[in-house]
Symmetry: C2
Amino acid sequence: MAKGSSSAGPVTRATMADIARRLDISKAAVSYALNGQPGVSSATREKVLDLAKDLGWYASSSARALAGAETGVIGLVLARPSDLPTIETFFIPFLTGVEQVLTERGSSLLLRVIGEHPEAETKTYERWWGERRVDGVILVDERYHDMRLPAVEGLGLPAVLCGGPIKGSALPCLWTDHGADARIVVDHLVALGHTRIAHVSGPAGFVFERARRRGVRRAGAALGVTVETIEAEYTGPQATEVTQRLLDQPEPPTAIVYASDVMALAGLAVAATRGVSIPAQLSVVSWDDSYLTTLVHPAVTALFRDTPAYGALAASVLLDLVDGRDRGRIQVPTSSLRVRGTTAPPAK
Amino acid sequence: MAKGSSSAGPVTRATMADIARRLDISKAAVSYALNGQPGVSSATREKVLDLAKDLGWYASSSARALAGAETGVIGLVLARPSDLPTIETFFIPFLTGVEQVLTERGSSLLLRVIGEHPEAETKTYERWWGERRVDGVILVDERYHDMRLPAVEGLGLPAVLCGGPIKGSALPCLWTDHGADARIVVDHLVALGHTRIAHVSGPAGFVFERARRRGVRRAGAALGVTVETIEAEYTGPQATEVTQRLLDQPEPPTAIVYASDVMALAGLAVAATRGVSIPAQLSVVSWDDSYLTTLVHPAVTALFRDTPAYGALAASVLLDLVDGRDRGRIQVPTSSLRVRGTTAPPAK
DNA sequence: AAAACCTACTTGTCCGGTTCAGGAGAATAG
DNA sequence: CTATTCTCCTGAACCGGACAAGTAGGTTTT
């Protein structure tokens, strides 16, 4: 079996008791030495530290946690159908940011990828917390009537919500001004001269999708333009279908704003198939920026936000909460529009 | 919900001792009852189970692990520069498969995303194992002179390698017949009539990239065609640059095989920019399939493998190893070519 | 009727840390 | 020269489970 496979394989790992025995001192002294606490002479401390290093000693996370410390683990559940690609272009950069902060602060990430099944997610939190596996969790993909909020609050499980703010919930959250984002997009298109703008949104069950929809409607109204929103799943095929419907209208839009980069790419493919020239005959904007938008030709105009920084912020707010510092509701910096090759004045 | 006090956050979670006290029996009896072990009457067992449910009791993972059980956590380190997008289209489906098996078998995934820094990865394994955080790890992205193999073997840390097989290493591994994959791709292109084929590979530090390179060379030689391999990073810009160089040659290739879907898309963008028609003037194949290949027009011919199944297999082999069953070296099913819109006979 | 054997428990120890309440010996104070 | 206060260290309890060993009480065997 794999354990102790190689000749030198140390099957049993060193414990503090081993160090204490070899140095003929007490476990307590070893503990103080290793934790940088007062109560041991610097000579002893050094001997302990040296030996610990020699033996390859690491504190058992279980023992530490059992003795009352935190577990040093935070949890994240990703609950979307696995075949939905949108999560990827957002999620990896987000995770990268999360991880960076966790690593800096000595924590790790427990990840769970499940299908879209709200109960399973709530259940996971309950188990993780019950089993003392995590110190807290990051909640992503805020939904309407989100059962996760009462669940984590009921459990007393520290959590930070990427979304909100929610009235009636005291959870710290990272909220985005979707109205401002919407204005940036609509302003850009209207400034170019577009008057028939379509908005292909993601599922309205997501709070931010409905906020975006409201945002574009208002931004359009303020400029005397109506923006039509159509809802679709975050998949390529769905975006394809919706785009075809839009372009089949008697008066098709001259600009389409897609909820995600993947959808925008699907839209471009439809245009390519139909010989609709971009951006001459149709302008396209993606609400999410990622490496995908610059991978195609022409590159897609997209609303950019610093996703790793967003993840890093979420992680640091959560770790602070675990440490007892509630940073409350924090506004995420407004996105900026990266104007690329898919937006231009409409054909007359 | 599950916890008794709904009004205030229940900071203290129920323990077996609580159950024992309330039922006026011993902790041991509670333990036997909860673990389905003999030694308690069914009446008592039922009372214990009921109360445990009422109290929302879960076994402390730390206490369990400390008492000798496994931790129920397996680790995965993702070590590539965070701005390399290739990881995403492979990684999320892979993780989905991993998670499914882990969930079925009651384990969780500890994830770490780090930059490409081999020492950091080895160090992470050392810590995770030292701290008893994980029962085993999945190794992805096999490299030449991979320091992780001696590291995990030296530690006695159960691991499964996605790659290999490695001579001199007893690690169970999931190996791929890259030669067969290469033949599939080259055969397809040669059958269409291509004789000038280019292969844009990823960094040769990855074992599988060099195996693929060797594979296409041999497959070409067997058919009397030379296949030229050019190495590039897995980024869009690098693929763009290499593609431009290839197309600038006096006798440019009529078909390009890209190491990844992202690179293939970048190649398509170059062609679009130059007005090179695909597939009439240039055929494109991607060695990796993902949702990206069908997101663009024309859809990209790609070598498909069931990535979730691959992840699931890796997880199950690792869990078996942790349970003491070494399944040795397992060959991954050969990929199949999904012929789509980017391959056609070359222009005469 | 005594021995043997269940069943249904209890007691106590252990895992590997943390931490509290001392205590010995040296240094400082009065 | 004792009293006090350090510094440096020890012993033991504790966290929450798992489990080995022991025990009361009843049932079966001989």
